[in-house]
């Protein structure tokens, strides 16, 4: 796991926000980034590798966004480790959660928690 290599990238950029917004990619190989602050629709997030994503729904700190386009059925890495497979195509910057990601080891049989 590469949590220790986390580099904090307050996504200010010009996403010229009045309030700095943040996310972090926990490992260089990760397919998702993690929000370090809660965000609202319309918020823009930027990063050092030309990331520029517009948020389309309210999301709490700790939720995930796709760091790149992910195909249906692809294994998704966080912390540099597989955390599940995509159940539909996911665009870069899109919210990644139970609606488009499921466990490889123990999928939820009856719906999703929460």
């Amino acid at each position: 796991m590469s949590v220790r290599r986390a580099t904090w990238r307050p996504a200010v950029g010009n996403c010229s926000t009045e309030r700095p917004r943040g996310w972090v990619r926990l490992s260089d190989t990760d397919d998702v980034v993690v929000l370090t602050e809660s965000v609202e629709p319309g918020d823009e997030l930027c990063g050092p590798q030309d990331e520029h994503w517009t948020i389309d729904r309210p999301l709490a700190v700790g939720h995930k966004l796709a760091a790149r386009p992910i195909a249906n059925g692809e294994t998704v890495l966080k912390y540099g480790f597989p955390i599940g497979v995509a159940t539909q195509p996911i665009a870069a910057g899109e919210h990644v959660h139970s609606h488009n990601l499921r466990s490889i080891r123990i999928p939820f049989a009856d719906g999703e928690p929460g």
């Binding site: 796991m1 949590v3 943040g22 972090v24 370090t36 959660h97 139970s98 080891r105 928690p113």
Partner: protein, 415 residues
């Protein structure tokens, strides 16, 4: 860690073990004796007298071993056993095991001592006599390579894996490099981490034992129908058990794993150990951990002098016998409950500090606590304790490989 003291004053027990607290344990041997034990302790609150015990009336060798380990724990200096009289607990065996450690021990049987009132009087008289002796007991000095530290998380949320857990993992790397014994657990939340666990083991045989421990936990959880994934995990941004597991697993850091323990196994030397708390054999004892306090008691049974406890939602628990240091994963919770929290790791989220800096703070607070500084939960009087039924097979030789020199991994990991 140049600002961390190299050694500090400690309590020396007759068996040579060194403690960082000076506890007189009053132990009820069945729930029927619990009130009497609590009443014996009440007037001595804050003086080192603490209540622990086992509620069951039927014998269980795990429970006997747990109480024997806890009564001979280095933080414990004297023991009063309180028996109703007709329970099945082998009180003579426990008394003998404590006496063999050189600790003062006495058993009072309620049915033979005038019932509630007579037992409370006799118990308090013994405490009045023993507590001053305990305070005047032998002292020594102690250093990091003699310290055993446990870690667990409770009330986790989506921030735990970003801040407090990896900070504890990094602190464990630093503490192991200083020679301490560090213990992590929660195999039920290591599904998906088996390959990495096995690869970190210092021997291939230990790697297979670690893998088997997680597989046992997964089997046990499935048989219990235990959804190790709650609504609060999902609303906090966690999607799968693998993801939740990796966050919990980050408390172990990235160093080599030197052994696999079961409750009451004490690490014989410094290093990083996984504690397997899932019972062996058929599923018959209910949930492996009905709450965080069961896990804390098991870490302490392995000799943990103190406990690092990460929390996102905000747990308040402490423990009997060993102090609990709370590391809060986000600053919102910290602001709401700062009296209960020793360290605010949430500052990492805002970029105000780093995982490394919080890890160093954890090491400093660990040493200060070892040197006698009370933690928040100690200051608030928390002394939670719980013990239930379980059964374990002894760990095999593969779980305790011979000494393997530590790799210089801390330097390699420096950011």
């Amino acid at each position: 860690m140049s600002d961390v003291p190299a050694s500090w004053p400690a309590y020396l027990r007759a068996d040579g073990r060194k403690g960082i607290r000076n506890v007189l344990a009053v132990v009820y041997l069945v729930e029927c004796a619990h009130h009497v034990a609590r009443e014996i302790v009440a007037p001595f609150s804050g003086t080192g007298a603490q209540t622990i015990g086992f509620p069951g009336c039927y014998p269980n060798s795990y429970a006997t071993d747990m109480l024997a380990s806890l009564c001979t724990h280095p933080n414990v200096g004297a023991v009063l056993l309180v028996s109703l009289g007709c329970e099945s607990f082998p009180r003579a065996e426990l008394q003998a095991r404590v006496a063999a450690s050189g600790r003062p021990v006495r058993t009072i049987v309620i049915q033979e001592s005038g019932g509630t009132r007579g037992t409370i009087e006799a118990g308090r008289a013994w405490l009045s006599e023993q507590l001053p002796l305990l305070r005047d007991g032998a002292r020594t000095t102690m250093s990091a390579e003699e310290l055993i530290i446990g870690a667990l998380c409770g009330g986790s949320d989506g921030t735990s894996s970003l801040t407090a857990n990896p900070a504890v993992g990094r602190a464990f790397e630093m503490l192991v490099a200083d020679g301490a014994g560090c213990i992590f657990e929660e195999t039920v939340e290591m599904v998906g981490c088996e390959d990495d666990l096995a690869a970190r083991a210092v021997t291939p045989a230990l790697g297979e034992a670690l893998r088997a421990a997680v597989e046992k936990a997964a089997r046990y959880s499935a048989a219990m129908g235990w959804p190790s994934f709650a609504t609060g995990n999902a609303s906090g941004g966690l999607t799968t058990i693998e993801e939740k597991s990796l966050g919990a697993y980050s408390k172990s850091g990235r160093g080599p794993i030197h052994g696999l323990l079961k409750p009451c196994d004490t690490p014989s030397r410094g290093g990083l150990y996984l504690l397997d708390v899932v019972p062996d054999g058929d599923v018959r004892w209910g949930f492996p951990n009905i709450n965080d306090s069961t896990e804390i008691a098991e870490l302490i049974s392995c000799g943990a002098h103190l406990i690092l406890f990460t929390t996102g939602r905000g747990s308040v628990v402490g423990s009997a016998i060993s102090p609990v240091i709370k590391i809060c994963a986000n600053s919102e919770t910290y602001a709401r409950m700062s009296d209960d929290m020793d360290i605010d790791a949430g500052r990492i989220l805002g970029g105000e500090t780093t995982i490394n800096a919080v890890a160093e703070e954890i090491c400093r607070v660990t040493m200060a606590t070892a040197a006698g500084e009370p933690t928040c939960s100690e200051g608030l009087g928390h002394q939670e304790f719980i013990l239930g039924y379980k059964s374990f097979e002894p760990t095999g030789p593969d779980c305790h490989p011979g000494f393997v020199p530590l790799k210089p991994f801390v330097d390699a990991l420096a950011v």
